[in-house]
Symmetry: D2
Subunit: 326 residues, 4 copies
Amino acid sequence: MLVPLDANGRINEAELRRFINWLIEKGVHGLYPNGSTGEFTRLTEDERRVIARITCEEARGRVPVLAGAAEANVKETIAACELYHTYGARAVAIVSPIYYRLSPESVYTYFREIALNSPIDVTLYNIPLFASPIDLNTIRRLSELAKIVGIKDSSGDVAFMMRMIAAIRPNRPDFTFMTGWDCVLIPMLLAGANGGTNAASNVVPELMRKLYDLFQARQLDDAMKLQHRILELFDLMLNPFEFPDGFRAGAEMRGFNFGLPRQPQSEAQKADRAALKSTLQCLLSETGFVDAPAAGCAPRTGNVQQDKLEQLVHEVMESLRAKGML
Amino acid sequence: MLVPLDANGRINEAELRRFINWLIEKGVHGLYPNGSTGEFTRLTEDERRVIARITCEEARGRVPVLAGAAEANVKETIAACELYHTYGARAVAIVSPIYYRLSPESVYTYFREIALNSPIDVTLYNIPLFASPIDLNTIRRLSELAKIVGIKDSSGDVAFMMRMIAAIRPNRPDFTFMTGWDCVLIPMLLAGANGGTNAASNVVPELMRKLYDLFQARQLDDAMKLQHRILELFDLMLNPFEFPDGFRAGAEMRGFNFGLPRQPQSEAQKADRAALKSTLQCLLSETGFVDAPAAGCAPRTGNVQQDKLEQLVHEVMESLRAKGML
Amino acid sequence: MLVPLDANGRINEAELRRFINWLIEKGVHGLYPNGSTGEFTRLTEDERRVIARITCEEARGRVPVLAGAAEANVKETIAACELYHTYGARAVAIVSPIYYRLSPESVYTYFREIALNSPIDVTLYNIPLFASPIDLNTIRRLSELAKIVGIKDSSGDVAFMMRMIAAIRPNRPDFTFMTGWDCVLIPMLLAGANGGTNAASNVVPELMRKLYDLFQARQLDDAMKLQHRILELFDLMLNPFEFPDGFRAGAEMRGFNFGLPRQPQSEAQKADRAALKSTLQCLLSETGFVDAPAAGCAPRTGNVQQDKLEQLVHEVMESLRAKGML
Amino acid sequence: MLVPLDANGRINEAELRRFINWLIEKGVHGLYPNGSTGEFTRLTEDERRVIARITCEEARGRVPVLAGAAEANVKETIAACELYHTYGARAVAIVSPIYYRLSPESVYTYFREIALNSPIDVTLYNIPLFASPIDLNTIRRLSELAKIVGIKDSSGDVAFMMRMIAAIRPNRPDFTFMTGWDCVLIPMLLAGANGGTNAASNVVPELMRKLYDLFQARQLDDAMKLQHRILELFDLMLNPFEFPDGFRAGAEMRGFNFGLPRQPQSEAQKADRAALKSTLQCLLSETGFVDAPAAGCAPRTGNVQQDKLEQLVHEVMESLRAKGML
């Protein structure tokens, strides 16, 4: 879940509550505040608590809440687990230790200490791009602890998902495997994953839900067609923007105000963001949930930089045409 | 394709011919000599030619041959393309430049030069672990050249496969996408790949063919069950051995003599290989194509080091038991 | 600077004050609280403030304080800059954004925003192993801002230090270059660096100071002899332990109580730590500042795992000998 | 050593002999054919032999020859060792296995096999950027073999050089340590290295020799001033060009014809090379060995892309001025 901020960069509580309700109405199966998409490392400890509390309140039992509970150290993390338990979260998700790159033994010891002291079920969060990787053997060892009930894996590696499932499910049939790599949700589900916790669900929750439903109905050809569209959308929101700003830009088009971002942007970046947002709007308009820009859309080539340029040229030409200058 | 050597490390022509025939009988759709599994960089130029020639001869038109033709430089590579064309190869596969890590522009220029001068169709070979990566935009640019007809991608990245297909197939519907990552063949086929050029086909060609056929028949649940077994086998042959020696060890169990390897092994490595081979034999015996070791098999845990140890203990115990000492 | 904790893992204020005084008495040129060695990411916001305050208080103007001021986001970081300014810090050090890997443009924008709003001089902190790298061009651009007065670089790359100095010093002769890679302090000083902010100064501040003084006196042969001893010590504290626990173990031998670490340790890790600490004690005893273990020291081989083993064997043998069993 | 080619890309024997003589006259202490700068992987086996033979012949005992002898496999490599021994080479240099990334144990076994069968002294060549890394423990183990007499390390890591020397020199005082990272030759010599095998010696052999002599005379301030100029030159030849083409471009300015490169260049790359070469000529003209371009030189900024642009603008302006158009 993204976090709407106000014009001063503070949490916009009213918009957050509206956003949560919208997500539930659009069919998400659960809510995951304080993840990477929620920029948990850019929030203060107090802010993370406020967001977890609001999410649990606003969910009102309609969907379960998986609350990101990683704090500065084990003691603080356990305190967050206790608090989020009282908020009514279904489970917490805890990212592997950040900043320092820890050995597998230390990653194990870290999660073990938390699992033995948490009153609430714990989900591991593996995101090797940003945090200490949790390797296969460590996950297997951790799956022996009753309080650890699942993993969110954002490696994007389908073979790794298969290895995890093969290693753990025989002994823990209840263990939940989720992928954070939106663009291969269907291959991951085919590989045996239970579901996804996906940034794209902030922008097109209906489509992510439909993707899941198509797989459940074993309509794989249709599912893969939709998966290809999600890939295109995901790539445009992920790469040319600084994560998770592309997803903020997308969610803004769905009618939400995300306010001033925490990571400052230069004037050049703001101009670039506007141009990319226009390309993104064209792409999103094909989903039917978003209007095309007033000036219309240039044909896309699949090359982001070129698409951005062509859309810019297109809009300038349209503007000149509108003024009768062409 | 692996290359059988003799006790002195020279190409074992008779065994190579026997191996080729066996592969074809077992159902492979094509042959790919002088790839990474064929240790092309450990062969001399003359040896690579001999292997390409023998493969084309022995195939006798029953299946197409995709011959690895990368040589020291563009001129030598084009000469190999010309020669393999006269041998009757269907196409050549050319790995991206090795050793130096070239820029995308130089990778493009390298392949362009070859494509413009080759009399035979060219397949790109992307293996970023070992050679200069061929990025998406470079592949797209190269797909505009008529002589370039496909790509073998060994990145193992399903999303990358989807991106390639989305970028190229609209303009080149005939372009062929193959994966070199055996353990995710089904997800890759689902993503739109045409097939695989897989090291495991040297060991269980029947199973790799069956995997493909199950996908074509859209029996995805059975396909994924088999895919999981292939993953287990692939991981055991890939990781604990030095590539491609695990695949050599596997093919030896199918009744072929692979001789003295090119990369020397220490006594400790030879002992370790014997222990791993025993674990591998147990795994392969489950396919029904290979007998279990005489002493039987210990239960597997999925942890290679532990499995190796347990199998060793098992065999020692059985041996003592056989001698009436237990 | 390391942070002494108590038996419950809370900041041990009395020991921290004693440690600060000891460091100053032993000759350090300055104090740097809330750096990587100070485990700033494992502290709460409040704890970081307490440590900065105590350090400034206890320094009492005897040496300047460079206070780590990185917080969750730009706004919080600027607030810390303001606060540490009132504490009397000479400057702040700010690590490049953590967790997310930002583009050079975003790294620039981040530091620019801080520099334009900080009342206190700012030092960049580049540690590409753990945080978004600050590349050469970004450092050059940032050096154009008056409030940015230096960089601490922990890349350990001497050529990079030379490149930074060549690019910046002509326009900013006052810009300060410090290395965080203790084991090459002399090569870095030779390359033009102004000094070091080194973890080893927590353990052997006298030797790090002497290393600097030998260079200033241009006694390079003696300096390099000492540098080689520092390298040996640094490597033993850095690699086999989880950072910065090896430095904690070393400082404990100088008579300080560092208490319960923030990152939990398994029983196996605790046993390993004890064995490594014994090897470390032997190495430190050669400096003359630390007594050898009662049982004496085995000869060292330079191979950490082997040294640890030999020291263990040595201690067991001595123990048996002491009991008259050998 | 670079290899002059002719207009068709074949070895230009006359120019090669002239180049060798020039290098010796300019003061190099030895010759190293068939290294990375010599593009050994882009040569055929026969070509590598020709180059080694010509180098040994032309050296005529004036300086020792360290001949790169790595071939496709151990057997071929030993054959090259035997041949180069008969040519009169002082020793061979053998790069760690390429393409496949081997384990330390396999790297050890590879070099051990060669060392036990080579009639000529062997130097290890560690270049982790391009080939399997040779780690510290493996180097130490290999240094126990009498035939292995030294290492060329191109990691550029001064601390690693210190670690190697500390681990090996006590037992092998005769072991030779050479750095392949031109821009930190002085720090490496200070760290204890014996010398360098440097690509820049193809372009400014006098300066590289002078750098070494200044260190031997312990004129470290002058040495570091020169080292900074070498860094600037090295960076310009290394990064914006595709290695080793920048060094080819530099050597061309010293009066040699390097002919058609093995790696083809696009028209855009050729134009870019011409622009970079002009910037390089300006930099080289400051050494006094090369004339400035006829149109003169723009001031340099240290930013390669900007320098290239400013030099281009400068040349266009001068050209217009010369034609009286400005």
